[in-house]
Symmetry: C2
Subunit: 526 residues, 2 copies
């Protein structure tokens, strides 16, 4: 049995706080720096590698982190999770998102079924449906093919699938697996749905309504919006809509949908990209084979994440270094900086994944913790960010740890040679340069041009952003966040913090307000 | 003459640190909260209002902030700036972005010309050009109209204009002023340019190349990318390109462009949306009249920002409260949360504006400062963020001050009534609810469902996001950042922190590397 203890009760954490801080400028300069780059890396799935030479760690720190991983029983806790323990204690639920992409340990039985078989069956049902749509077997009332898929969902039903779609859109076009354009409606702002609907040929659009409970107000509101548009175009909404929901939701057996695909309570919204939530829209957009490749990359990375050897487990190591930076070094935020335009919304997905999972002040038992937990996560693609907020990252008064991602090859392959190098080479040169600039800095007598350095970063490097690599990247961060939750002893799988706002919003709409809430409601004309 | 002193040398700042902290839960609950909402607001331009009832301030704090504004000579410093003083001392430059939208004080003479006349002339030249394009007087080689405008630029030449375009796209479509679709190429990642070019009918596209110096590597590289695409389509690039640059740049008098529109060294990239940098693309997209309305809103807000009375000057007050939160209360980041899908990229623009301006560790004289300066800025539109990172904002271990923006009316006007309320009402109900939830919290015996509250926010409320309101909103934040720079005594108008990375990237591309830089270059196949 594993023991769930607060981080600050662990002897190994106490020891970690007493390790000597590493001077990044010193260790990353000269040939010592080269030796670190060669030494401090860990292979990941799908040809990715996690490099942490530019993190403020050395062999002593790594030993302390290894001890911490052991005392905190990170590998054992993950094993309990994938073997079907009730890890989400707050909601009394299993945590099974890894099972949507592979079987890691024992068979998991729940709700009277083998859950792996359940997820596989949903994936197969989606694959069949998508193939039928692509083959023209499932068509609109005029007998024409659907050309566009529109996902209606919010939070985890939007950010992850949208980020994954954008990540693979150009890859699929280049590799001739692109089947249907995808669009997304998420915000309850009526201008969101209206603008998307204005840009879509609704007669040839298939709408995927995603709500686990079948009661998400934003999503049901946007469904009505879409149904109005379909009716106004003289179309029958039920010919154009599919549902992704839980088997027990009101949507599950409704005649309003062409088909329903299921997820369950063991898949948190922010962990649902590899379930039917991502599966429907991505299989329709790129074909089920591409979605299967994406799952394969995630599954392979999950297997690597079970390794008890910290130095061979990139997700665990990344998690440990992050906790060291947050709790020992005291850095309050982390920037995610992919050098890939295709990953433009990947930071927004990680922002949800990380901040919603670990932005907690109480431990698994509901007791307040005395240490910082999840950091603020933000980011934009490089090189764009270099011309924007990097100024603060380089010369601001706070240190922000950085998470770079880079690929040797572009997705489309069209390039131009200017001043002796391609755009892809310039892109890669920039991320290499940034790592060293942040770590080593550069002394200048003009203090305005002085760079102190000492700003830690890691980089995940891959050959190309393809479906497998994207799956591996996603699973890496999901598992990193999970391990950090274990270290902080918080429940990373509930989100009670979003409830109060919902309750008060309902009260506003029912005009049951007083005090400041009434005043603000009046100011906003509600 | 104004005196430039560090924040921590000011007696009024010392006094501010000794004011009693306000208990937000107490003051925002009950009828006291209602009274605060009525009392603590300041009108802005274009019908906007800045509400700060949910900020942790009271009359004592506000008096201390007023004293600080006076001792720091905020109004006088702004006056020096708009009257043409060399405020950007690091680069020995005037700071004239406000002058692109109106004349606030004395005439400003520089480079031998009246600068206001210069900016007006550029705006008129752009207006004439845009009108000629729209009227079919400026056409492609086949005698056909241009239908799309593509901006090529990075950093300030991208984020601001792109955010403004998205903010007004649906408004313009609804109000029949939409003229041309706009797209943007920014990243040196070849997949960015390739994907945009694949989505555009280049024969009917006009490209706006934006680079003040005419030497920005990313932008020139993407220009070559575009020229290749035009040539491959059998077109003459110079029939399809215009330049926005400084008069002294190599682009200014080149035959490669249909026209050139000028800005100058007194307009920082991140402050350039109201100059020709935003003017060309926005005038082509929406017509010059809409761009002029946008400038009018900004100019009106600038005038309000000159007010010496802090309580009547929203930008100054917002700046002061922000410094109080950053330096006295010790909060390291700020979230920008517009309840408007049209403002989806406005937070990314503010992230650049704020972090690049005030992410500095030395004062105007190059001396290290002993206090925190610019915070990390991040954000996404509500209600999307509610289903994402709000968990951490409500229940995380760190307090993150919040900047909400909301409008009573949508832009498109298409809406749906579900459960007795429209989507627009739901949107507004949510932001009202969030303000109160963050401030007041809610006690619960189940600590997992407990909300401590005490999380400060402000909100800017407007009637509708139209061009004037957008201009006012932009100017508000530009002026807030400027006032904060004055308070921290940093130069908000240079960006030396972006230089080292550029130098090292050039070295990588020239293969002049050693140590860690060589290793990372090899890993990335450069």
């Amino acid at each position: 049995m594993v023991a769930w203890n607060n981080l600050d009760t662990l002897a190994s954490y106490e020891k970690l706080t007493k390790t000597s801080p590493v001077n990044l400028v010193e260790v990353m300069s000269g040939e010592g720096g080269a030796a670190r780059v060669k030494k401090y890396s860990t292979p990941m799935a799908a040809g990715l590698t996690y490099h942490y030479a530019a993190k403020a760690v050395d062999d002593d720190t790594l030993q302390a982190l290894t001890d911490l991983a052991k005392e905190a029983q990170l590998a054992d806790k993950f094993k309990e999770l994938y073997n079907g323990a009730v890890i989400n204690t707050g909601e009394n639920r299993l945590v099974l998102h890894q099972l949507t992409r592979g079987q890691l340990g024992d068979k998991v039985q729940a709700d009277g079924v083998d859950k792996r078989a359940f997820y596989v069956a949903q994936q197969e049902k989606i694959a069949q449906f998508a193939n039928d749509v692509h083959a023209g077997k499932i068509i609109n009332a005029s007998g024409e093919k659907f050309t566009t898929v529109v996902q209606i969902g919010i939070g985890g039903s939007d950010l992850g699938p949208r980020a994954m779609y954008l990540a693979l859109e150009n890859w699929a076009k280049k590799n001739n697996t692109f089947k249907m354009e995808a669009k997304f409606i998420s915000n309850v702002d009526p201008d969101d749905a209206a603008a998307v609907l204005n840009s879509v040929d609704v007669a040839h659009a298939l709408f995927v309504l995603v709500s686990k409970s079948g009661t998400t107000l934003e999503t049901l509101t946007n469904e009505s919006f879409v149904k109005d548009a379909l009716k106004n175009a003289g179309l029958n909404p039920s010919d154009h809509m599919v549902a992704v929901t839980s088997e027990t939701s009101p949507l599950a057996k409704s005649d309003d949908y062409l088909a329903a695909f299921f997820m369950d309570d063991y898949i948190g919204g922010r962990y649902s990209s590899t379930s039917a939530v991502g599966g429907a829209v991505l299989s329709l957009a790129f074909g089920p084979e591409v979605f299967a490749q994406f799952l394969d990359g995630a599954a392979e990375e999950d297997r690597l994440s079970t390794n008890e050897n910290v130095l061979e487990n990139a997700a665990m190591l990344d998690a440990l270094i992050g906790v060291y930076e947050r709790n020992v070094l005291g850095y309050p935020s982390t920037a995610v900086l992919p050098y890939s335009q295709a990953l433009s919304r990947f930071p927004a997905h990680l922002q949800q994944l990380d901040m919603e999972s670990n932005g907690k002040s109480v431990n698994r038992f509901g007791e307040p913790v005395d240490y910082p937990t999840g950091p603020v996560i933000f980011g934009e693609p490089g090189t764009n960010g270099q011309h924007s907020f990097y100024q603060l990252l380089h010369q601001g008064t706070d240190i922000v740890p950085l998470q770079f991602v880079g690929f040797k090859n572009s997705q489309i392959g069209t390039d131009v040679d200017i001043q002796g190098s391609t755009s892809q080479q310039k892109l890669c040169a920039n991320v290499a340069a940034q790592i060293v600039a942040f770590a080593c800095g550069k002394a200048d007598d003009n203090r305005n041009k002085n760079f102190e350095g000492g700003r830690p970063s890691s980089i995940i490097i891959g050959e190309q952003l393809n479906p497998q690599a994207l799956g591996a990247l996603l699973a890496h961060f999901e598992n990193k966040v999970m391990f950090q939750g274990f270290l902080w002893n918080v429940n990373s799988f509930d989100q009670e913090g979003v409830q109060l706002g919902k309750v008060l919003a309902k009260r506003v709409l029912a005009h049951e307000t007083d005090g400041a809430l009434k005043e603000f409601s009046d100011l906003l004309n509600i």
